[in-house]
């Protein structure tokens, strides 16, 4: 017995689909603008853009989530959404941790070099 409304996917009405599509597209535009203004480096945008694109597809094509879920053997399609979402967030978190580690290492090197430069300055006051 299916609880899904006719023509919709995973319990979303037609109106909800349009809203989801609009929000997904707005997110993509927002991310692209951030890259353009150099507030977000292009490399960080890649994961976000691919997820945004996936959401646009899901919103624009009703039933694609259900179809994919059943193909993969997942009985409850929203579960697929959650699993993919969690995996994506894990990837982003790991990527950020990796970048933070790299930055900490580089900041440390800079601090050490500054200490060396300071001593050279005091030793040699002529500019």
């Amino acid at each position: 017995m299916s609880a899904y409304p006719a023509g919709g996917g995973s319990g979303l009405s037609g109106k909800a689909h349009v809203l989801a599509a609009a929000m997904s597209i707005a997110s993509l535009v927002f991310i692209l603008r951030a890259v353009r203004r150099r507030q977000l480096r292009a490399k960080y945008s890649l994961l976000w853009l691919s997820i945004g694109a996936a959401f646009v597809v899901m919103a624009a094509v009703p039933g694609v989530l259900d179809w994919t879920a059943h193909r993969l053997g997942v009985d409850y399609p929203p579960a697929l959404l959650f699993i993919v979402g969690i995996i994506f967030l894990l990837l982003v978190a790991v990527h950020l941790s990796w970048e933070v580690s790299r930055l900490e290492e580089r900041t440390r090197v800079l601090a050490e070099e500054v200490a060396l430069l300071r001593s050279e300055m005091h030793r040699d006051p002529t500019p």
Partner: protein, 246 residues
């Protein structure tokens, strides 16, 4: 005012002395700044011994960071012309004069092109020359980059990844402030120049084949930066053309 040669170098102790000597011989009127990008060898010492100003980065930033350091130096010291020169001997110093002439003629960014045929074909157009070979995957990626640059700027640039370039004072100041940090910086720099309304000119130059070693050609790295650049291009798309800065 003497022009400035900006030479980014990473572990080039072997090639640098000869490169600097030849540059001093063929372009005697230029100042030289060598930017050691976290080199682990004697690059800095060797450059200093040849009389160049040496900027030693505390760790490896990549070509973009090394170049931007050079641009900052050029801007801070008021250089009116600067050119980028490779530390490995691929660039021919005899061609420097040709690049600088275009700057004097009013260009902001002059690209020394490996692929432009010296004689134009048809009504002012230029065709791709041969003579300098690149790998297949890289060639395909470069083709798409060329298309992207043409779409965004309206101008046809054949060699989008050339590192043999000259810069006007306003271009120097702009790049000192903002320069791409990642691989394939030259394509992104081209987009930045077009976006800022700078005048870009391409001129053919002879380049020597790489003396030793293969250029980094790992497919995954290329594919990743290719996708990344596509995002940059998509976000750069604009409907109007900006005014040329003073």
């Amino acid at each position: 005012m003497r022009p400035l040669a900006i030479i980014p170098a990473y572990n080039e102790e072997a090639a640098l002395p000869a490169v600097l000597a030849e540059l001093a011989l063929v372009v005697p009127g230029c100042d030289v700044v060598v930017v050691s990008d976290g080199s682990k060898d004697a690059t800095a010492a060797v450059a200093r011994a040849s009389g160049a100003v040496v900027l030693e980065l505390p760790y490896n930033l990549g070509i973009g960071g090394a170049l931007q350091t050079g641009f900052r130096y050029a801007a801070r010291h008021g250089y009116e012309r600067a050119f980028q020169f490779d530390a490995d001997g691929q660039h021919d110093p005899a061609e420097v004069a040709r690049l600088l002439t275009e700057i004097d003629r009013g260009a902001d960014l002059v690209i020394g092109s490996r692929f432009l045929k010296p004689e134009p074909i048809g009504a002012g157009g230029a065709a791709e020359g041969d003579g300098y070979r690149v790998g297949k995957a890289r060639g395909g990626a470069m083709g798409v980059m060329r298309f992207g640059v043409r779409m965004l700027s309206g101008q046809r640039i054949v060699d989008t990844s050339s590192g043999f370039r000259a810069f006007s004072p306003s271009m120097i100041r702009h790049f000192a402030d903002t320069y791409p940090a990642e691989y394939m910086d030259s394509v992104e720099a081209l987009l930045l120049a077009f976006k800022g309304g700078f005048r870009v000119v391409e001129t053919p130059v002879r380049m020597r084949e790489r003396a030793a070693g293969q250029p980094s050609n790992r497919s995954f790295k290329l594919a990743y930066h290719f996708v990344r650049l596509t995002v940059v291009m998509l976000s750069s798309a604009s409907l109007h053309r900006p005014a040329r800065p003073a």
